[in-house]
Symmetry: C2
Amino acid sequence: MRPTGTIAFALLVHTRDEPGVLHQLTEVMAEHRVNITYVDIVERHDGLSDVYFELEAVADAQALMRDLRALEITRGIDETPSFSRIFGKRIIVMGGGAQVGQVAVGAISEADRHNIRGERISVDTIPLVGEQDLAAAVRSVARLPRVKALVLAGSLMGGEITEAVREIREKGIIVVSLNMAGSVPEAADLVVSDPVQAGVMTVMAVADTAKFDISRQRGRRY
Amino acid sequence: MRPTGTIAFALLVHTRDEPGVLHQLTEVMAEHRVNITYVDIVERHDGLSDVYFELEAVADAQALMRDLRALEITRGIDETPSFSRIFGKRIIVMGGGAQVGQVAVGAISEADRHNIRGERISVDTIPLVGEQDLAAAVRSVARLPRVKALVLAGSLMGGEITEAVREIREKGIIVVSLNMAGSVPEAADLVVSDPVQAGVMTVMAVADTAKFDISRQRGRRY
């Protein structure tokens, strides 16, 4: 167990499953002036619940764990590796299945090369079509943790999807588009015709181990 | 806005970014006896924070929103589509880049066919090697939301990874393994030699729209 200090650490708290559990746990954390950077209710079964926390600014980890253990609802606490340490930066690929698959091949293969050198990049995909569904999914990307870039892989995307692309770019997410019909390519940071290449370039744009500067590539088409 | 009832709904609450925010928000939810099924701290920028909640057993949504808005820290609230509605069931693929890519091609292509018919299946991948790193990643799968199945794609996996496979299977996650050296195939629900086929079969095993019963396939090798 990492003893004290202000470094981030992750905890899995086993509790009874009942309304108010999160309230009681966060009360202890608020008393310790701890920053909760990530929280997830993991498992609920047989009246028990597991709650996962990533924390920052933990001045006294031992005291925090002791106070959490003292709660009547708590059944146990494990320290655990954080998702950032395991899954790292996320790239999301969405659109038509045939093209999403090829972008994934490029992105996974390139992520493999960087992960071997100490990076942590994962590639998440969803085959999804339809203007409204895709626009909602694009917007939701900004609500997912650790997402650095989105690749839109399809043959025709525009309208509401283009609006959603503009919104998430403002929130700092890099958007790469395949060369396709519709207005999405105009709104993207980068347009790439070959899906494998699009996957590779997107990983290069987010990897600290790569020499690829998205700010120099913005607006370009390959 | 969905008015009242006990159906699930999702909220994005914009607040000041300071310790104790989650505590104050969950206090209101505890008072309303609401079940928090998912929570995520989405964005932290310029002293502001966005917190995303998925809730169940909401008896009076209007009153809940009113009480959340009344908090001094709250800057606004949006109702929003839930991740379950957008990304649905998750399949995770991990291991060596070459094979992870091919499993992803099969899984994405098959998920596409089911998603068109109303399913929501997404395919998340991480190229990752090494016994300790992989074992930690396998264990962490049980802490991720909405994961139904894991595919292990590589040429040699055993030891600690096999232990981790047994643990997550006990938590109800289906584990599919490529045919490979090491003890992982023996611990998996299903062993498949072709990576594309492994991806397709895994999606079939979790899709309600497919006629594939994992309980009839357990222990088989293809």
